[in-house]
């Protein structure tokens, strides 16, 4: 038989691109893209985007030798990313600050931002621990890092991030998926039914979700966003949309698809799922906006909504869905972020 179904046969000389994360900074979208080389090693690109009419202008900025786990912006519009090997990377000008190294500029790129990096350690009460970063969020008191062991760390400066909250339970896997800031609190969402809340000036405490105790360990909270009245709206694997106001949680809608993202966009709320895009009018209903596209995490980019394309047309493409909605245009586009 000549049928070769060997799944490890790589395409295009073995180099493949995959979108890892996206964020808004200084009014434009930024993308972290993984590139897997012939040997299977994953490194990453940070790519800046800018919408010009219907065309997404893309500008590769910097290459880093490991997998970027998350990318966010701070209140100054600067970009921060963290890798699986605990490198913190930013385009903030930290050239004069001890401990930061300038990332070697790529020889084929010129006139780009200067990027700096340093290696972080994770320090808990009993010393250094091995952690895999999952998500980031800039709060007023520093950079919050959620990890695969369901711990939260906070970094302000120097080479260590310190333990903020520990939800790790031996034998329960799955990490923190998202950290969300609302006007009066910060929330951390994750596996094992994790909903943590830290009110302004307060401390972290766990909030019970609207499910029976027995089910808690198996619930997976994926992402959240601030709702219309300052509460948190969060999505859980399976499709529940949960509202968290103070310590009160309730299920406010059920999306008929596997949800992966939730975002506010032009004063409406949307859940992106593997079946398409749904609007949450807030009355318990869900309204199908776009059918049969596979959407991952989505962000509000002003006159467009940008979501990860969970099924790009080719294996070596990193692609997004882009919903452009302006006064005179309403269109769904599918730009390619990069390819081999």
């Amino acid at each position: 038989m000549s049928d070769d179904i060997n799944p490890s046969t790589p395409a295009h000389g073995g180099r493949r691109y995959q979108l890892a994360d996206l964020t808004m900074a200084a009014g434009v979208p930024w993308f972290a893209v993984h590139v897997s080389d012939e040997s299977g090693h994953t490194s990453s690109w940070i790519i800046r985007g800018e919408l010009d009419g219907e065309h997404l202008r893309l500008q590769p900025q910097v290459w880093v030798p490991d997998a970027i786990q998350a990318i966010v912006s701070d209140s100054d519009g600067q970009v921060w990313a963290i890798t699986s090997e605990d490198e913190l990377i930013t385009n903030t000008d930290l050239g004069q600050v001890a401990g930061w190294r300038q990332v070697t500029p790529h020889p084929q790129l010129n006139a780009r931002d200067e990027w700096y990096s340093r290696t972080l350690g994770y320090v808990a009460t009993d010393g250094q621990s091995v952690e895999l970063a999952e998500c980031l969020c800039w709060a007023s008191d520093g950079l919050l890092i959620g990890t695969f062991s369901r711990r939260l760390y906070r970094w302000t400066s120097g080479d260590v991030a310190r333990l903020e909250h520990d939800d790790h339970i031996v034998g329960t896997l799955g990490g923190v998926n998202n950290i969300v800031q609302t006007q009066d609190a910060i929330y951390a969402l994750g596996y094992a039914g994790l909903i943590l809340r830290r009110p302004v000036g307060g401390t972290w405490h766990r909030i019970d979700g609207p499910w029976p105790t027995e089910a808690g360990a198996f619930i997976n909270m994926i992402a959240g966003v601030e709702g219309p009245r300052g509460e948190l709206w969060a999505i859980a694997a399976g499709g529940s949309v949960v509202s968290v106001a103070g310590d009160v949680t309730r299920t406010i809608a059920q999306v008929p698809g596997e949800p992966l993202g939730i975002t506010r966009f032009q004063r409406q709320w949307f859940v992106s799922t593997l079946d398409g895009c749904y609007e949450l009018p807030g009355d318990g209903d869900t309204v199908l906006i776009k059918r049969d596209i596979l959407m991952g995490k989505s962000i509000d980019a002003g006159n467009c909504l940008i979501a990860v394309d969970a099924e790009p047309q080719h294996a070596d493409h990193a692609q997004v869905h882009l919903w452009l909605r302006t006064r005179n245009r309403d269109a769904w586009l599918r730009p390619i972020i990069c390819r081999a």
Partner: protein, 340 residues
């Protein structure tokens, strides 16, 4: 009997009536109307020995998927009610009488027995292996149409190739065994067994979970990066694999695996539109969480025992060193700039 089961009964009666009288427009319309009215009604709890157990989102996947496909069929004028297989109606609208406690309890009893084994030394008898496979109806074969047709025709499925992994019938990705983070097969529709997900993105998805579980395990096994790396044995590594596989099988959405149309899956187009592909543990959705955990672990255990037997037979014993770290380059070269 709770009221949602009553709604299911109504639905099934409407189906019977429509099926009996294919030319009766009233009966046909009544079924369509009933489907529209009930498609968001789910059985939200079930009783076991007098105790009421709630169902959660992950439990209702099979109903949601099957109903979605019924809607798709009904919205197409080329098809009618008689095109639907009875099995898809049964999956979409389960009855109280369909909940086979005896079957579930037998499954859990078998699972508990399996969980008492030591995967590194114990063997399984053929009937247990077969029973678990029946239970599983594995998603590896429920992938893209192309893969399935290739696998069907591939006579070389048993050819030993350690780097290909223990072929399609289990969920330890071959790359996971090598500790590589570069998994093929899940990039695009044509390649995947989980057609919709990429590995690097989609926080909260099983793929991202498995990817991060591997990264995390690798980091923990690596230990202090300033010291010389020591590779684990294959057995030591698989000990970790067992943990994340247990998690995957316990929390996987439970869906049935049914063909929707009587004509079967005639071509790839039909397949994409009308196949409900599933990951079906017995009586999907009517097990308690603790029962699911027991069964999930047993599935992982069986697959791991089979993998061990396969690798041992292929001349790769469990005490052999797994080359996790040998290929880490000490110097990095920048990747070429991608095409944007």
């Amino acid at each position: 009997m709770n009221s949602s089961f009553a709604a299911m009964t109504l639905m099934r009666n409407a189906y019977e009536a429509a099926l009996r009288a294919p030319s009766d427009a009233v009966a046909q319309a009544a079924f369509v109307a009933a489907h529209q009215a009930q498609q968001h009604t789910f059985v939200d709890s079930f009783d076991v020995a007098g105790i009421t157990y709630p169902r959660t989102d992950g439990h209702t996947l099979s109903e949601r998927e099957a109903r979605e496909v019924i809607s798709r069929i009904l919205s197409n004028p080329a098809y009618s009610v008689s095109d639907l297989r009875p099995s898809v109606i049964e999956a979409a609208y389960p009855l109280q009488a369909d909940v086979l406690r005896a079957e579930i309890e037998a499954t859990v009893a078998r699972a508990d027995k399996i969980n008492g084994l030591d995967w590194r030394t114990d063997a399984l008898d053929a009937s247990t292996k077969q029973a678990m496979r029946e239970l599983l109806r594995m998603p590896t074969l429920a992938g893209g149409y192309k893969i399935i047709s290739q696998v069907r025709s591939a006579a070389n499925a048993q050819v030993l190739n350690i780097y290909r992994g223990y072929d399609a019938d289990h969920l330890i990705p071959d790359k996971a065994l090598r500790g590589s983070l570069h998994r093929g097969q899940s990039f695009s529709l044509d390649q995947s067994y989980a057609t919709f997900m990429q590995d690097s993105q989609n926080r909260g998805s099983q793929h991202k979970f498995v990817t991060d579980a591997q990264k995390h395990t690798r980091k923990r096994l690596r230990g202090d990066p300033t010291l010389l790396a020591k590779n684990p044995t294959t057995g030591e590594y698989l000990e970790h694999v067992l943990e994340w596989m247990t998690h995957v099988y316990t929390t996987a959405d439970l869906g049935v695996d049914v063909a929707v149309r009587n004509s079967g899956l005639a071509n790839s187009d039909e397949f994409k539109r009308f196949n409900v592909k599933g990951f079906a543990l017995a009586q999907a959705g009517f097990m308690t969480w603790n029962e699911r955990k027991s069964v999930g672990r047993a599935v992982a255990m069986v697959l791991l025992i089979e993998a061990r037997e396969f690798y041992t037979a292929a001349g790769w014993p469990m005490d052999r060193e797994l080359p996790l770290f040998y290929d880490v380059p000490s110097t990095v070269t920048q990747q070429p700039v991608p095409v944007t």
